[in-house]
Symmetry: C2
Subunit: 227 residues, 2 copies
């Protein structure tokens, strides 16, 4: 029996990726919400970066601390005999790893660092109101990334191929935060919207749809499974 | 029999990680050097990011394109029955994945984006001479990262634990580029220097030590195994 404790911030895309992955893998976990911008948050002694997500597990061989999404996603695969959130097909495995890296770097730098900074970090850290020029720039970058995802999904059932997996959960986690803040132009991306509806109706997604950001109500379609 | 073709840029840390990993795994490969900043470079049709490293392999099941270090390192593990550049220990596997993410984001953003921009990108792209303030800032950030690595190596043989693996090759690839440009203050980091000497004397490292950057001679100790 594994006791699994997750430290997370509800609107951090990496934390959401891990909540979805643990849910899909049917691993029960307790939750400790953390505020990574507070200097005395409980992650300071657990993860050298001080950031969520972190999972602590107690297994037969003793306790194990898993810092950052890659370590947690990797552990979910390692503990199972068969692939859980990865395809067995070499091309789909390569594509999964490529896409996760794309979200980690390109999407984070070009979209999150701009749009989530304006919509989420500014109210949290009391940095003033959103900047119109930055919002326009972030939305333009988001559109380019959504074009790329739409093109992939025109040819595939799931982002990396024929099987739902790590790439889908990573992408959905990122897009779900933007969706909360009303930043997802779903109508212009029909294949992406169909893909997201399929993910959103899975049980692993339910807890995310109940998240609430202080002082900001979710966009009307956020928790609607048939948006 | 696998035919393996690597597209790389000699002074890109991710490309170096892959050259080291293929060398350690004793996978023979042909090399195509690319200049990722040129719009007609051969990666444009292969990797959506347009960036190296990319590996193309032809195996029994057909051709496979592996974009970015994670996909290539993952493929090296997948094709073997036993771990190649990963420990079997769950804690060391988690630490390996954490450290690779650290270099991908933190080290890249805080050190490479400043120091390698000044020392490498500016001459390549003819952007003028290095900026003294930026150089000082980059060197300060580098020192903090080296402090962290030194502390890890005071307690461990290798960065993630008892076995040489992906984390060591990723870190050594990054540091080797800085070393070429004379940016590595080895004397202040004795445990790190010993670790690097061990890696540098492995056969996989030899091709990197023969690399030459146009118009910049390597630092005196760069190719010296007993520096």
């Amino acid at each position: 029996m594994t006791a699994c404790a997750l430290y997370h911030f509800a609107f951090d895309p990496g934390s959401r990726t891990v909540r979805l992955a643990l849910g899909e893998a049917r691993i029960e976990f307790s939750e400790t919400p953390v505020k990574p911008w507070e200097h005395d948050n409980p992650l300071v002694g657990l993860n050298p970066s001080g950031m969520p997500p972190v999972v602590r597990v107690t297994e037969r061989d003793g306790p194990l601390t898993l810092c950052e999404p890659a370590a947690i996603l990797g552990w979910i695969e390692d503990r199972s005999r068969d692939p859980v959130l990865m395809s067995v097909d070499p091309a789909e495995r390569a594509e999964t790893r490529r896409l996760i890296g794309w979200f980690d770097r390109r999407f984070t730098d070009e979209v999150n660092a701009v749009l989530l900074h304006e919509r989420m970090e500014k109210p949290l850290l009391r940095l003033g109101s959103p900047d119109a020029v930055a919002l326009r720039e972030g939305r333009g970058a988001l559109k380019m990334h959504l074009d790329m995802l739409e093109a992939l999904l025109a040819e595939r059932d799931w982002l990396a191929g024929r099987r739902m997996g790590q790439a889908d959960l990573t992408a959905a986690a990122h897009l779900s935060v933007l969706d909360y803040f009303g930043e997802m132009p779903w109508k212009a991306f029909p294949a992406l919207k169909t893909w997201y509806m399929k993910l959103k109706s899975r049980p692993c997604f339910r807890p995310l749809l109940a998240d609430r950001f202080p002082g900001v109500a979710p966009a009307a379609c956020y928790a609607d499974l048939d948006f």
